[in-house]
Symmetry: C2
Subunit: 249 residues, 2 copies
DNA sequence: GTCAATCCGTGGTCAGACCACTTTAGGCGG
DNA sequence: CCGCCTAAAGTGGTCTGACCACGGATTGAC
């Protein structure tokens, strides 16, 4: 009669919360690997001593966090950790803040400046080639705003990847959705004059060269200059948008 | 006969997922503010045209993300955005990586170095006083490892707060749990000799002074030196632990 | 007036049934 | 013998209605 019913707290939680932490800890401990298939809901509910609705509450929560993938008619599978949920969580946390689309650039600068310092130490030849390759794409797509934006992002992402730091990488991925939105909103005002784009390539190239020369201080300085120019450009655009009288003013 | 039953996709999702996104979007849009109380589950289920279990799956997911607070016998309330869930998500994402406790320090350096640059521009007198206050606590608690650790963390947190950047702040809070674990693990090896602690105070003080002088380059340099010393210390400790023959070697 | 028991509204859980989707196994026709 | 097609089995998806557990307010007794 020592059944594990309500008489035992089991960690203080009960019901769905208990099942949720059960699976989460199994995930963290590595008992469940990506691709593993869970038992059917009915069997799991039986095994864990809860009803099916309760089990489903827990599974649904795990699914929201991207830890499992529930497929109708097929089963529930363990998923590898996903950075997209991080991005969503960050977006939710930052949502109430004003001007978040501008502020998130600060996080970007923070990550990239540290990443490029690490990259100067750690980047392999393969990493450098990958960055150089994105630089080529950037040059090729000067006249195409769409592809150009992608190439720009790819360049910076390649730098963060070259840092070899999972933490920096994950955080960078997490802020990417917000960065995208920020980028889109900025491009709405910036009409991308040719003079600017050519300077853009130069800026990227000098960042890359400093990195290839394994000079952390120079690389960070180039990167900061690059960001400062973008910032300045945005400011000037804002001014020129309001200084001459507008129709709806 | 144009009821909103299964004939209308309603965004492609159905059931719990639909309810979840419904509330999430309301949260993002600001229609629901922190502290607001939701309708009772039975009424909500009726209003949203779903059964109570389905509604509960959605609510439970929202609760996991820290967006609502479900209280037995009282009701369900909207919660203000919580960084703790961010920390958990980050921990989950980074869990499979090796040496994550060391690597997360890179993220810390990234955030703090950018934060202190911003703080040099933006910090108010009140911010500076807050930082100075934590510095005093640090001095007071030199002989108490527990309080000393807290004061140390408070000092760095105050700097990030003084940056006035919500993004940096949230990300710093997000990595805090991992930072704590990292700190604990490191202290397990570091026997905190008096000579070190005194140098620690000097390092913090010079960081603060450069910040108070509004000198971004000097402040970042001081900060990086501070981190480098800690890193070096850890390395040296590791070496001294393995260099003389150990029992279990 | 104070304290207690009671009642009501809330979330928490359960059981069983049925629906929808996917896969597979078997039968039927070629 | 091969291939297609249908039916069945297994899975998640949903619903219904009931009951339990907790918190607070109301009401009653002292």
């Amino acid at each position: 009669m020592f059944e594990i019913t309500k008489s035992e707290p089991e960690g203080g939680q009960s019901g769905a919360a208990r099942v949720f932490t059960f699976f989460r800890d199994r995930l963290l401990a590595g008992d469940l690997k990506a691709g593993d298939r869970l038992l059917a809901e009915r069997e799991l509910a039986l095994a864990l001593n809860v009803s099916r609705p309760v089990l489903r509450e827990a599974l649904r929560s795990l699914a929201i966090l991207g830890l499992v993938d529930i497929q109708h008619g097929r089963g529930t599978f363990v998923r590898s950790a996903d950075a997209s949920v991080l991005g969503q969580a960050l977006t939710l946390c930052l949502a109430p803040e004003p001007n978040i689309l501008d502020d998130v650039l600060q996080a970007r600068i923070a990550i990239e400046c540290q990443a490029i310092r690490l990259a100067c130490e750690r980047a392999s030849e393969r990493d450098l080639q990958a960055i150089a390759s994105t630089l080529d794409k950037l040059v090729d797509s000067l006249d195409d705003p769409e592809r150009g934006g992608e190439a720009d992002y790819a360049f910076h992402l390649a730098i963060v990847r070259a840092s070899g730091s999972p933490s920096l990488m994950k955080i960078y991925e997490a802020i990417s959705p917000l960065l995208m939105r920020s980028h889109i909103e900025r491009r709405r005002d910036t009409f991308r004059e040719p003079a600017i784009t050519s300077g853009l390539v130069d800026a990227h190239r000098s960042v890359f060269l400093s990195l290839a020369r394994r000079d952390p201080d120079a690389a960070e300085r180039d990167l900061r200059d690059h960001f400062a120019i973008g910032d300045d450009l945005r400011r000037r655009n804002l001014i020129s948008a309001y200084e001459p009288k507008r129709k709806r003013s």
